[in-house]
């Protein structure tokens, strides 16, 4: 178990102000390290302390630790420092998608009416993470019927180059998951977006685990947008609900830039659940905080 933790966490750079820089407040469990290298042992000790802190910080408690270790993000796995997770400023570390890491699966849940908002949120992240690489959008036919099909000009208006987008239509959820898994195997792909409609039985823990493993292996981010489904446990690195939010009005009371109200429900990196109001800034290709009250 310890080796597992070590291998998955040593790759992460210590974040400024993060707990890994602090002295460990918890004692190291004796006999847990079978590796002779002192340096490694030290790192391990730090990481364990770090882990313990996070376990204490998350409301789910320690029962979940084992599950949490199974799906590390690939290499740039973002561990959320607690003070940041508190919601002070999430766009402070500019240029780093602090909440949706590549090489991992992220679940975005949305109600029926908030489908476009969830897709907008996913598209924003896809633009950030893919950085010019192709984006594959696997689209459930049901979602296409209910929300309308993705519109090229609208995508271009959000900042995603439609030429870099491959749309895959799937009639059923198993087809959808198969196509997404296939696409996520290619590390030439930047991001795979999945749009699933309804509480599908096929989108269970096993399917979620499969996707998470594929993403971890290839380094491709999978954003699973699940519309008209209730948030359910899964193997995703982070789990969110997305709702539309009132935008900052422009002059003449014109609706402004896309705004979202996003709630973090669960983060394997240990970030505490919180809600943010975010606004998509196309010019900077980033989300700005606090669109409206």
């Amino acid at each position: 178990m310890e080796n597992n933790i070590a291998s998955c966490l040593t790759g992460t750079e210590p974040l400024d102000g993060g707990p890994s820089a602090r002295p460990s407040p918890l004692p190291l469990r004796a006999g847990s390290d079978r590796r002779p290298h002192a340096a490694r042992a030290g790192a391990l000790a730090r990481l364990k302390a770090d882990l313990a802190l996070r376990v204490a910080a998350t409301p789910c408690g320690g029962a979940d630790v084992d599950a949490r270790q199974n799906h590390p993000p690939a290499k740039t796995g973002a561990l959320f420092p607690p003070d940041q997770a508190a919601g002070a400023s999430i766009s402070r570390r500019d240029g780093h998608p602090a909440w949706l890491a590549p090489g991992a699966l992220h679940d975005l849940f949305a109600g029926v009416a908030d489908g476009p908002a969830a897709h907008g949120f996913a598209t924003g992240h896809a633009i950030r993470i893919a950085a010019g690489r192709p984006v594959v959008w696997a689209f459930h036919d049901m979602a296409g019927r209910e929300l309308g099909r993705p519109h090229g000009e609208g995508l271009a208006d959000l900042g995603l180059d439609p030429d870099a987008l491959l749309l895959v239509r799937a009639r059923t959820v198993p087809e959808l998951l198969g196509a997404a898994e296939e696409a996520a195997r290619y590390n030439a792909v930047g991001v795979v977006i999945i749009s699933a409609w309804g509480a599908a039985k096929a989108f269970d823990l096993t399917a979620s685990r499969r996707l998470a493993l594929v993403a971890a292996r290839s380094g491709v981010a999978i954003l699973a947008v699940r519309i008209a489904a209730d948030p359910a446990p899964g193997a995703a690195w982070s789990r969110w609900t997305v709702r539309a939010a009132a935008s900052r009005l422009l002059e003449g009371d014109a609706p402004g830039h896309p705004a979202f109200s996003v709630t973090l429900l669960r983060h394997r990196g240990g970030a505490a659940p919180a809600t943010w109001i975010l606004e998509w800034d196309r010019a900077q290709r980033t989300f700005r905080e606090g669109a409206s009250g």
């Binding site: 897709h119 609208g154 271009a156 208006d157 491959l166 030439a188 196309r282």
Partner: protein
Amino acid sequence: MRNERFAKAPPGEAAAAYWAKDTANQNVGALFQGADAALPHGARPPRRRYLALWFPFLPADRLRRQAGSAATNDGGKIANGDKNRQGAPPLVFVAPVRGAMRLVAVSPEALAAGLRPQMTLADARALAPALWVVPARPDLDDAFLTRLRDDFERFTPLLAIDPPHGLVLDITGCAHLAGGEAPMAARVRQRAHAAGLHVHCALAATPQAARALARFTLAAREAPLIVPEGGDRAATARLPVAALELSEGRHRTLQRAGLKRLADIIDRDSVSLASRFGAAFPARLARITGAEDIRITPERPAPPCVIDRILPEPVAREEHVEALLAGLLRDAAQRLEQAGQGGLRFTALFYRTDGVKRAVTVSVSQPTRDPALVGLLLRERLGALDDPLDPGFGFDQIRLCVGETAPLAAMQSGLPANILPATHILEAGQEDISRLADRLAARLGPEAVLKLCPRGSHLPERAAVLRPARLASAGVGWRDLAPEDPPARPLHLFRTPQPVEAMDAAPDGYPLRFRWRRMMHDVAAAEGPERLSPEWWRTLPAAAATPPDDAPADDAHPLRATRDYYRVEDREGRRFWLFRPGDAGATAARWFIHGLFP
């Protein structure tokens, strides 16, 4: 005498190329159809040869086959079934014709009992009291004939259904593969017999001559009737004039004139015949007597590269089928390489011993001849079939057609590509994204993998179209938006705008509240109108087609009218793209949602 015709369409080569596999060592290069250029200038091309098949008892044979397969499923009562057949009552197929139930087809037993097609059922019952009467099912007969045609495609690519109840095979250039025309005809006949069919067959120089001989001579029943080259005139001269298949009135006229056989009219002046029996008559006669040749229209053009594996023993096991496919793909790759071509569409055809044919097609976006890649795609497609490939008692022939090719320069095939299976290459992620599109298209169907193409139109529904990734072409670029502006077009666009119930119009013209999908939305902010006019150069013909006073034309097609668009945000923060078709001054404004913003 018909050299001009032959010079236009290369004879035989398509069919010959079809069989190139069996003669691979002699003419691999002749595979691509340019090979007819090799014909010495002015040389007389070989005459075409047609094999006509006629199944005189097709409906009865079809029914017996069904009963037979039911009996076999029952536990091998074939012998029993045969015995039944001896004493079987005469079988007739009936359909209402001109107000009476008439026989349309009969079985051999019924024919022996003196029953003939076009008899009324009452007359037939008087002749043969123990009668098995079955309603005619021409649709099933046609389906059965289509299946036969697919199965007989193993003999030649150029074949057509010859209604009623017949097939014509253009076997020019194919006969030598069976060891000559007689063995070829015998093989075809044997295949039909094995399928439980009565068959008449005749081989002649024109499709019409072969058809007439097959249907109007008794000799064609016992054994294939083969007319030697140049013997068409003599062979067809003995046919009755019925072989001309004229209308009843004209037939009677000929009979009354004492013209009983084609020999009686063959030498007559064609001008007088034309004046008496119509302009088409001499041509019909000339075609039957082999003096004039028109081609059959084959079911589909022969693809440029076809390779076969004809199996002495049927194979049914999956791994054997896969090994055969891999071999076919290697051969195809070799041949494509020699021609400097890459394939774009690959079709694998599986011929089952019982005559069922299955075809599986994969397409790629870039020309390729990599056997591993195509093999992978084919396997993917086979795995995704709705009803899986059922080998039954085995496949006795597997064919690979490269349906569409494009030039592909010879390439140094890298060592890693050769020694690694294709899956490794793909998982390494070095492949182009188009490979991913191909794999997904193989799994989900080509229409499921789409790209967005800009079309340079100001109308949203025409500005971006979804096209299969394979066919996507770079059009005009995407429009640019000033960085400080919010999105002007929605992320989701409905194909057909959704009507909403609007109320409380604001002074600016947009509704203050509206109901959509049983939800009430209070408008908090709006921007507009943005007026989009229809493209008059497109709608003009449609407008001209509808009468000018036809007011509901606009109602039926809100997208045909001039539209005023508003970007609207409700109190919940959801953003919509609303529009109102027609003039702003219209009394009863109807509102539609065309898209949703994030």
